[in-house]
């Protein structure tokens, strides 16, 4: 199987890390930035690192863009440059384009130009941090639809010591526990205490809930809210 080809334009924190992770995962990565220092920093990690102006269509053409599976536009400072690079990538036949946007206008323009995916790291992170501060019991939340979520939450106190069946999480809350994350205490060889994290996927109805367990549940937002209040 031929390796997937990625082109990352803009090597700020986001672009640099995306390029590094993709390479680690075995992809072919070309990384570009106007700033020579940033290019040098990443040169050892990626397949090819180039100091160049990616808004120059001729230059982009020289990279055989039709061979590139995914183009990632990670230009943070200049909306104009980001838009130009997206446009060129689209016109030159890059198969899929992901654009990191700095604001909503940027996101709308990129979508109109044919970006296949818009990422908005600041906004996404802000939402997660705010959510975590408002509901400290909710550790992680994945939205499946506006109504349904997968949520990680700390086991409510009243369920500690009960089995899943006794806690009636399915019958009273319409929620399904898809996994239980548990910290299992142990003593090290030198007698120090520590714990390791274990995950019980698809737990049985007779599995007991322990203090400190984290439940991964799937269900309606309103039902999760009810459980959270317990």
């Amino acid at each position: 199987m031929t390796k997937k080809q990625f082109l990352v334009v803009g090597l700020g924190t986001f672009g640099e890390n995306v390029a590094k992770y993709l390479t680690e995962k075995g992809a072919q990565v070309i990384a570009i930035d106007k700033d020579e220092k940033k290019v040098q920093n990443i040169a050892h990690f990626v397949t090819q690192a180039l100091t160049a102006d990616a808004t120059d269509e001729k230059f982009l053409k020289s990279l055989n863009p039709e061979e590139i599976d995914v183009g990632i536009v990670a230009i943070g400072e200049s909306l104009e440059d980001s838009v130009l690079v997206t446009l060129h990538m689209k016109e030159l036949g890059v198969k899929k384009i992901v654009v990191k946007c700095i604001n909503q206008l940027h996101a709308r323009i990129s979508a109109k130009l044919g970006a296949d995916r818009i990422v908005y790291p600041e906004l996404e992170m802000a939402k997660r941090v705010a959510e975590g501060l408002i509901s400290p019991n909710i550790l992680e939340e994945i939205e499946l639809s506006p109504e349904y979520n997968i949520v990680e939450l700390i086991v409510p106190k009243k369920f500690i010591g009960k089995t899943i069946k006794q806690a009636k999480i399915r019958s009273e809350y319409n929620l399904n526990i898809i996994a239980i994350k548990r910290k299992v205490p142990y003593l090290t060889d030198s007698g120090e205490s520590d714990f390791k994290e274990e995950i019980n996927i698809s737990p049985f109805p007779d599995d007991e809930l322990n203090d400190g367990d984290i439940l991964v549940v799937i269900g309606k937002d309103s039902d999760v809210e009810r459980l959270k209040k317990e």
Binding site: K183, P185, Y186, E192, S193, F195, N210, D211, G212
Partner: protein, 93 residues
């Protein structure tokens, strides 16, 4: 002396820490916290006790208290490697 005429077993700091660890290993986190707190009252200068208490709080997902305890453990013994590792994980490093 207790009722049976045996000398009261004195609660030493060591025995309290051992008992705390015993409760922790058996998942009795609230009892473990009690014992470690008693051990700290006897000797507030031992890094290991704060680390153990932090560990119980972390196991109970009380990360705020866990963090305070790990910080205290490191303040007393800057070479407490386990406390450092757990603190870094909590902060998100």
């Amino acid at each position: 002396m207790n009722r049976k005429g045996m000398p009261e077993k004195k609660e030493t700091e060591e025995s309290l820490i051992e008992l705390g660890k015993f409760y922790f290993i058996n998942g009795k986190y609230d009892k473990a916290i009690e014992e470690f707190k008693k051990a700290i009252a006897l000797n507030p200068g031992k890094s290991e006790t704060y680390y153990n208490l932090g560990l119980v709080y972390e196991a109970k997902n009380n990360l705020e208290e866990a963090r305070k305890m790990y910080e205290k453990a490191i303040e007393i013994d800057p070479n407490n490697k386990l406390a450092k590792e757990h603190l870094e994980k909590i902060v998100g490093l």
